[in-house]
């Protein structure tokens, strides 16, 4: 039972926001000592673990390609593509972004989106813009909700798209860990294929919730502010 203290080290370490590298390093050493391994055995465990999990880090080989393309406007081109979809409602736009994010992540293009690269500069402003076009100026509370949903579309799309790509860290972690620990043989491709059903569910569920966002915005913005559905253009004009 005492080896479970190693898990506790991880929990406390992450909870107190220590540097994750140090947390994991200390938890590894502590667990090894608790399991009565000698210092030499612990070092060997770190070494063996590193050697057999190298496949997790090999995606680095793709960075020069992505870097070269970004230098030449890859993100700008992605922005242009998304910009062409601008004349949509908030929910439809976000659902479409979710789909794009999932599809590109499934092709390994995980760094195309992200909170800093795409959500703040592009997705959230466009989602808000779509709502403003329909309802006029937005109350702070609604603005926050739209931004939160913009972030969620990006995160859900990334999480449940990337595992369909076989060279992503999590897939390689599974094969690395299982193949070395249980002396078996799993292929990344088999794992990536079984990520597809969940990816489809994720798109249907989150996509549906994003589309429902439109209706909840209609309801919240139409009800107390009075008749904006009927003379929405007037209210919007007056508010300017």
């Amino acid at each position: 039972m005492i080896v479970l203290l190693g898990v506790l080290v991880v929990i406390v370490g992450f909870a107190t926001r220590r540097n994750p590298l140090l947390v994991v390093g200390v938890a590894g050493i502590a667990t090894g000592l608790l399991a009565k391994l000698s210092p030499q055995q612990i070092l060997a465990a770190f070494g063996d673990g590193f050697a057999s999990s190298r496949s997790v880090t090999i995606f680095v080989i793709t960075l020069p390609v992505i870097g070269l393309l970004e230098r030449n406007g890859l993100q700008e081109q992605a922005r242009t593509l998304i910009g062409r979809l601008g004349k949509l409602t908030t929910g439809r736009f976000l659902a479409l972004y979710l789909l794009l994010r999932q599809l590109t992540a499934a092709l390994g293009l995980t760094s195309i989106g992200g909170p800093a690269q795409s959500v703040r500069p592009m997705v959230a402003p466009m989602a808000e813009g779509a709502a403003e076009r329909r309802h006029g100026p937005l109350p702070e509370r609604i603005r926050e909700r739209i931004r939160s949903y913009s972030s969620s579309a990006d995160t859900v799309g990334l999480f449940f798209g990337e595992d369909c790509f076989l060279a992503i860290g999590s897939i390689l972690l599974i094969t690395g860990f299982v193949n070395s620990t249980y002396h078996t043989h799993l292929e990344p491709l088999q794992l990536a294929l079984w990520a597809i059903p969940t990816a489809v569910c994720a798109f249907l569920i989150h996509g549906f919730r994003l589309l429902r966002l439109d209706r909840s915005l209609d309801r919240d913005l139409a009800a107390p502010g009075g008749r904006s559905a009927a003379d929405g253009s007037h209210t919007a004009e007056a508010a300017k």
């Binding site: 673990g49 406007g73 939160s148 995160t155 999480f159 070395s180």
Partner: protein, 322 residues
Amino acid sequence: MIKAEWFYWLVGAVFLAMAAQMAVDRSNPKRHGSAAFWGLLGACFFYSSWVVEKKAPAEPLGVAVLAMVCLGGFQLTGRGVPRTTTPEQRTASAARLGSRLFVPALTIPLVAVVCASAVKHWRIGGEPLLEAGSETILGLGFGAIAGLAVAMVVVRERRPTVPLHAGRNLLESMGWALLLPQLLAVLGSIFQVAGVGEQVGKITEQMLPDGQKYVAVAVYCVGMALFTVIMGNAFAAFPVMTAAIGWPVLIQQMHGDPPLVLAVGMLAGFCGTLVTPMAANFNLVPAALLELKDQYGPIKAQLPTAGALLVCNIVIISLFAF
């Protein structure tokens, strides 16, 4: 036969080349620390080959790993000023090249899939062309090389140092975090050696009615999600829960399909990532970037989806794994 180790050496060489660039990059205030960290990582990729073949002791590699932990953990690495194009240049280039820019990026997964499915069966003199069992990894390597070649043609770049510098910028911006997934895998294997999974397994067995397939599936998935909420990372939860219940109970005892159980189990962990503030980079950082008053806004937007998807994952394993 083309060996996977050759590809690891290529990755190691890329790290070493980038470390050399960092060592002379005076715009990086911590250039020596950075160069040491990435150089050590590159060297470890080479040395690991002998450790895997049991031709060299693993202890020196363990020392190197701990040295990297210290370099990264005590903030001794930094980044230089990226040498890149201006936004105006990028916009002009994007307008000129259009969606051709996506072609090299798409080449990588395409080649990887072709290698993993078709080239896998090619033989020369009775021996497989690609090392058996490493087709996907080698495919990624060939995909990256092919993608780079296509990219150089598409953007009409002749100097090989340009993509190397561009890749190094991305590497520096990720920083030590790049080592974390691999280190979590190391932690998982140490937990394994120390028997953490067995202990968690004993606890779950005591609570689990015997032979209840669907209860076991639910325990595995919910356990993955909960552990992920606690540790903030599905990568850290995966080795523990898999050693505790995924492998011994679902796969060995109940003969579940390993790739299915493990792939979907990891995705159940991702449901936990969606709702934990511990996964700061996905949940709290966006809230800060978007200047939200409620820092849990994204988590609230994701919570119902995460719950529903967890149920989906349990159903998928229950329906298809046995």
